[in-house]
Subunit: 340 residues, 2 copies
DNA sequence: GTTAGCACTCGGCAAGGCGGAGTGCTAAGG
DNA sequence: CCTTAGCACTCCGCCTTGCCGAGTGCTAAC
């Protein structure tokens, strides 16, 4: 059986109506919304077909229908109309970002906040993976007689730093060492730094143990995956009727507390366009009742990720529109360097 | 009427039993738990007295009693016995901290995680206020022809940094400038830095606009209160029966999403001993159904704050014991510099 | 001062009844 | 052959009723 134009229209109506009301949708309602001279009986027959085809499900006999995951999938891929955000909304978002963003960390944090407020769902933002971004400079700063701070800046504007113990050395030595480090390491991927350091060992043998400490630090800094996940609007998920029972919500939060689990949700090729993960398509059981709209943030040369997590019954069109818009705005911040 | 020994014992029994079961406690139950030749009827009379005195309340006629806020208060202040953590637990906590902590930020983050896992409630950790800690060094690092990174380290081990535009200057100039900055600013409170910079203006006039940019940056960095709040175990609150209805939980999360609101909950004189905030004593309406056990973290010379947020029906003795223990361990990390 | 006994209150639960929404099927109509 | 009206049926949600159990307050006796 094929999805002809009428079935399609009915499916769309059911999905949109269910998204709006949260209730199962019956044939009468479809007829009321979808103005075309059709009787409920006809619609019933079509809906029975749609159920048989796996696009709709009945929570119980003699209730209306709700979309199955597959139904949502067709809706998202083919049926829904792209929404335009209203000028007020776009202005509000731009405003929020422009006025509050000072550096890359605040950009990420504010993005999470703004997206959650705009969508009324929970938003997730993942900062770029450190190991694939390039090192811009390495400095050694004295902060005590035998204590120094290693500061590594990345091309994306991130700053990683760590205190290390150093053997006594003069300030000149330290400057020279910084220069050598930067000269050798700038432009390399962060992941390659430990290797590069190892191969520098001879050249800088006079600085002795520092180089070993540095290698340790770098290896750690990379493997540790420093806090990369920012969330906004956690309370929003609790206001969704499907999570009225907080144990349901608890499952979701348990997943979100685990950063590696969240990474799995965003396992998409770098630079992918906006995509949607619906219900059971989800790799993590805790969020099988949720849908996730995923996008990519271009943070200069590096890539971050952004997601909107809501109930399966979420307003996909709007969420996608907001994610797209924010992707664009955040890139602009870098393209134009207008922010800082 | 006075709280004689018997009333006290009954009150303690009711509180502890209610904490354990979550149910209203009746006279029969009290008699069963509190072995002394007393009949339910006598206990009933005493409980009626306790209710009149404001220590207990009845959810409805002919239910058992539950403690009022005042009842919990007396319990916390006078009745509860200090709990000792088991050696396994203390070992586990120490282990967790030792093995995962690399720097001050990770110490704070891990503390939040460990405390939430140990208590099974939600934990909050506030990093130290920047403005009252002392500056240790200020450096200017070149990261491009006309771009530099200002790096300020504090005595607590925090590192603040920001990219700034600079006029063309030689590396020697930059080093000299860094030295001047550190010499003049080291040891000052962060809050005083903008003032100090202003008074340096003449001495460093040759560096022109940089100094203004720096002042901007510092003023911002201080006023912005960079992310200081870390949370752990958010899912725990959702598993509490009193928050079964997720709208209740939503109120709590709304408060916690607002960092300034959380600050209000921790409005205690610096260095105070562990204290408890119960239900309505709470300044924020969203968490009136919660209790908060608050403590202080000594992070070197600076002070952070730690809290355990649970239902009023929380295991106060245990929460207090854990907070005390963690306070101590975290201080040790600094005292002994054993961690890094 | 303590206790046993008793009447009373109230929440919670299960059973039963009812209305409404929605369905599937069938037969008639275009 | 598709569409539609009609009808019997199903099932949820809601309300009512009745009952049990837990717990209370009061009174009278010890």
């Amino acid at each position: 059986m094929q999805l002809d134009a009428r079935k399609t229209a009915i499916l769309r109506t059911v999905v949109e109506e269910h998204i709006k009301t949260g209730q199962p949708v019956g044939s009468r309602t479809v007829v009321r919304k979808y103005h075309l001279g059709l009787s409920p009986a006809t619609v019933r027959n079509e809906m029975a077909d749609l159920e048989e085809m796996g696009y709709l499900v009945q929570p119980h006999t003699s209730a209306g229908r709700i979309p199955s995951d597959r139904g949502y999938r067709v809706y998202v891929d083919e049926l829904m109309e792209e929404t335009k955000l209203s000028p007020e909304e776009t202005r509000w978002i731009e405003e929020q970002l422009r006025s509050r963003v000072r550096d890359i960390v605040s950009l990420i944090r504010e993005t999470a906040r703004v997206v959650s407020e705009a969508t009324n769902y929970l938003s997730l933002v993942l900062g770029p993976q450190l190991d694939t971004t390039s090192c811009q400079s390495v400095h050694l700063l004295r902060v005590g007689p035998e204590r120094a701070l290693v500061v590594i800046t990345t091309e994306t504007g991130f700053v990683e730093s760590r205190l290390v113990d150093i053997p006594p050395m003069t300030d000149e030595d330290m400057n020279a060492f910084s220069h050598i480090l930067t000269k050798n390491l700038a432009g390399r991927k962060m992941a390659d730094l430990p290797g590069c350091l190892a191969s520098m060992k001879d050249e800088v043998s006079r600085y002795g143990q520092v180089i070993t400490t540095l290698m340790d630090f770098l290896t750690n800094a990379l493997s540790e995956r420093e806090e990369r996940l920012y969330m906004g609007g956690q309370a929003n998920i609790l206001n969704q009727p499907e999570f009225r029972d907080s144990r349901k919500a608890g499952e979701v939060f348990s997943v979100l507390e685990n950063e590696e689990a969240v990474d799995k949700l965003f396992d998409i090729p770098p630079g992918s366009p906006v995509s949607v993960l619906i219900g059971e398509e989800n790799p993590l059981s805790g969020v099988r009742d949720c849908s996730l709209v995923r996008g990519t943030l271009r943070l200069g040369s590096a890539l971050g990720k952004i997601g909107v997590l809501g109930p399966k019954r979420m307003d996909y069109a709007r969420a996608v529109a907001i994610v797209r818009f924010v992707e664009e705005k955040v890139s602009d911040f870098f393209g134009g360097r207008s922010g800082w």
